[in-house]
């Protein structure tokens, strides 16, 4: 199966006569560079250029939030940002949530509270949740619902997603309290 996933250069960089620009983005703590067409969307750079396919594209119009990533810590919809706008910035994708040895509590929460079904909206949901919990470690249910209102889910009905985020918030507070 490995041949199915070989890394390819950013798809628009090979065309003669098309202007390209070098961008350097710090993605999940690692600096990566690519030559991109100015019109290339950030979501496509992440997915096709860097093969970080956990960032999904759902609606192309900034509504569904499947492509949500953290941009300098803030949740943005990467389908409506140009790759060149990310030059010199920091991006966190779902692949940057877990460490080699352990899951992020938000990931654990989604699994434990059955906060996902098909999994397509999940990466964006978790990143929006992370942005919330980074700012507000003890949110109310309403605050969670509001923070996730830019992310659509068609499977779960949200109730378990909200529970997952509250579960993670509690877990994060406990680990902070223990001085880690």
């Amino acid at each position: 199966m490995t041949s199915l996933f070989e890394e390819v250069p950013p798809s628009t960089s090979s065309n003669d006569g098309v202007p390209v620009r070098r961008v350097e983005v710090r993605i999940n703590g690692e600096t990566r560079a690519a030559d991109v067409e100015p019109r290339l969307l950030l979501a496509h750079l992440l997915r096709n250029g860097f093969r970080l396919t956990g960032t999904h594209t759902g609606c192309d119009t900034t509504n569904c939030g499947a492509c949500t990533v953290l941009f300098d810590g803030q949740p943005v919809k990467s389908c409506t940002m140009f790759a060149v706008q990310a030059d010199g910035h920091e991006v966190t994708t779902v692949e940057g949530l877990a460490t080699a040895s352990e899951l992020h509590p938000i990931q654990e929460g989604f699994k434990d509270e059955h906060g996902l079904q098909c999994g397509f909206c999940t990466p964006g949901m978790m990143l929006s949740a992370k942005a919330l919990l980074d700012e507000n470690p003890d949110p109310t249910e309403d605050e969670v619902r509001w923070a996730l209102s830019g992310n659509l889910c068609r499977c779960t009905g949200y109730q378990n997603i909200v529970k997952a985020v509250l579960w993670a918030a509690e877990k994060l507070r406990e680990s902070d309290g223990s001085g880690s």
Partner: protein, 792 residues
Amino acid sequence: MSLDEIKIGGLGASRRRVEDNRFIRGKGNYVDDIVLPGMLYMEILRSPLAHARIRSIDVSRAWAIPGVRLVLTGEMMQARNLAWMPTLSYDTQAVLATDKVRFQGQEVACVIADDPYIAKDGCEAIVVDYEPLTPVVNPEQAMADDAPLIRNDKVNQNDNVIFDWEVGDRIGTDQAFAEADVVSEIEMHYPRSHPSPIEACGSIADFDRSTSKLTVYMTTQAPHIIRAAVALVAELPEHMIRIVSPDLGGGFGNKVPVYPGYVASILASILTERPVKWIEDKTGNLISTGFGRDVYLKGQMALRNDGKILGVRMHTDSDHGAFFADAQPSKFKIGLMHSAFACYDIPSAHLTARGVYTNKAPGGVAYRCSFRVTEAMYFQERMVQAAADDLGMDQAQFRRVNLVRDDDFPHRTPFGFLTDSGQYEKCLDIGLEAIGYDDFLQQKEAAAERGRLLGIGISTMTEPLGAGNSREYDILGIKMFDSAELRVHMTGKAILRTGAKTQGQGHETTWAQIVAHELGIPAEDIVVEEGDTDTAPFGMGTYASRSTPVAGAAVSMVSRKIRAKARKIAAHLLEVSEEDVEWELGRFHVRGAPDRGVTIQECAMAAYSNVPDGMEPGLENNAYYDPPNLTWPFACYIATVEIDPETGVWDVLRVVAVDDCGVRINPMIVEGQIMGGLTEAYAMANMQFITFDEDGNCIGSNYMDYLLPTAWETPGFELHEVVTPCPHHPIGAKGIGECATVGGPAAFVNAVMDALKGHGVRNIDMPLLPDRVHEAITQRHDVSGAPPVKGS
């Protein structure tokens, strides 16, 4: 001695999902995640007009763009006899338009290029000269004498009518109406909606000239049906076709049909001899792929003064769009609409159904439902509430009078289905108790005195899930059975494959639980695979809540075959006769000597190392399961709402759901399915619909216009259960994934209509948008949702 079934992840364990391990890490493998060496990208040029003759198509400017490798038009498809393809309902559908376009968004040309941006540039560069024709946007217009003929491509099609169909007892029903004290009538529209999984459709076709093998990775809920269709349409040998359905980002019925994009990508790969990827954008998905609903009802009920329903008449006019591409069993032209009123004891009923072509996208898929049961149950429950109002009876009591009693099973429904079990009144009672029915009625009255509008809506229904039995259920003649194949390895670990295809339902988790229940092998020792036609046994796929009733039953049956062989091996190992071997979960022991036993794992090892003389080695088998009947889950949904009379906005106060889906394999997953279904029910009642303007422009072609509920407006849900095991299913389970979507909408709408009782309003068509509710309150009349017709 015996294993704890919950500990090994058997039936009833809320086992955490296996598939989540990759999804939460962003390591799912959806079609768009797959990259093949040398792959090209395809984009589709769609019609901007709903009805127009194509005068000419000029593709020269597209060909001139560097990086464009191929441009496909209808003419090129026609030269290869691929311009039209059969639908799942014995009609034909254009792959790429040749003569005229028949709906906005119809596929006109495809550009295949080095990357998707260039392919889009190519589409922009194509010039199509259209001659606009009068669009037909609703059934009334389609059936008018002077209506434009949409399907002039079909010989002998002289009008826009697709079918005129009837079912039930016309004479008996006429008699019931003659004897009625009261006749209750209502008209309504179940609006067109789109299943809209967040992931749109797509495919990667990879034709290898050297082996003549075609592999297609694609978003399909039914890979084997697709393989058969490709064999027939593209005239390729079936053993040289491999369909792979990887992780799916939701389906909800939208990923059942065969779409032009799939066919075009296959031809493009054959012509370019390179893999060709087509990933549909959201607008393409919303305006061209399988929609749900779009049915108009005229309903009548014959009633006795004491509340007894004597008979029901239903007439439906359904809008199928430009091609009759409903995904449904062949025998039933309007799906299982005639499953309406199955939970009520009604002597006779009659349904007439007419289907028409319009200049709208084709589809009529079972959007999170079992073939139009969503419309059936919505119409049923709205008619029930209207009838209760007409009789001046309490809506709960009216249901209680008419529900089938527990000791009346098996029960023949008024349209001829056979239901086999249920505790309907118990479900209703639990629901009423949970919502605090009597208290709410008092609150409502008190609130009304202060000018506040509170309402309560009930929906009770049983629905037929799990098509089918093969006597009655087939798609294009292929019987609707399903299958499972189980291989137990020598160390007692196993791989299970089925003909179903998960798209979020969690089969990788739950199927292993069924095996654990049957064999005592811990669920974590069983890997489940689906979706690859080269390895999975033939099955009809996952939709219409058929997986647990059919494929899930096959999983049980194949496990039992394995157990039967293991028993012979156990007898051999224990040196006793087979009759002296007793089964307990995960282990055989000698009758009367429970200490002398062998585990299923020891039997598995022996199957490869120490089989008795004359026995075939190995421990694997398959099962094809043809269910004797449908499964009939029952549900009672109750919602309470408050309407703001100034704005027409209504808020949900509480939602109570009581579901009886029989034995629950994984209660956590079942509850997840119910909450998801309730959300779609709320969505349809509140905001979610695809409508059209008088020119046939689709209003709802993106998520800015097609409203889906977010976490913010979606209400919380309170879940309750009743367990009546299905008498014919091997583990007593029934379908559940769609019950709430089917039964839920009427609970919300009935609640709003209950709040408006006394306001001179009988019906507001879904969705109950604030402006519609406001119009009903201020103008004191019904509000229709039918699209406007030009010039009227």
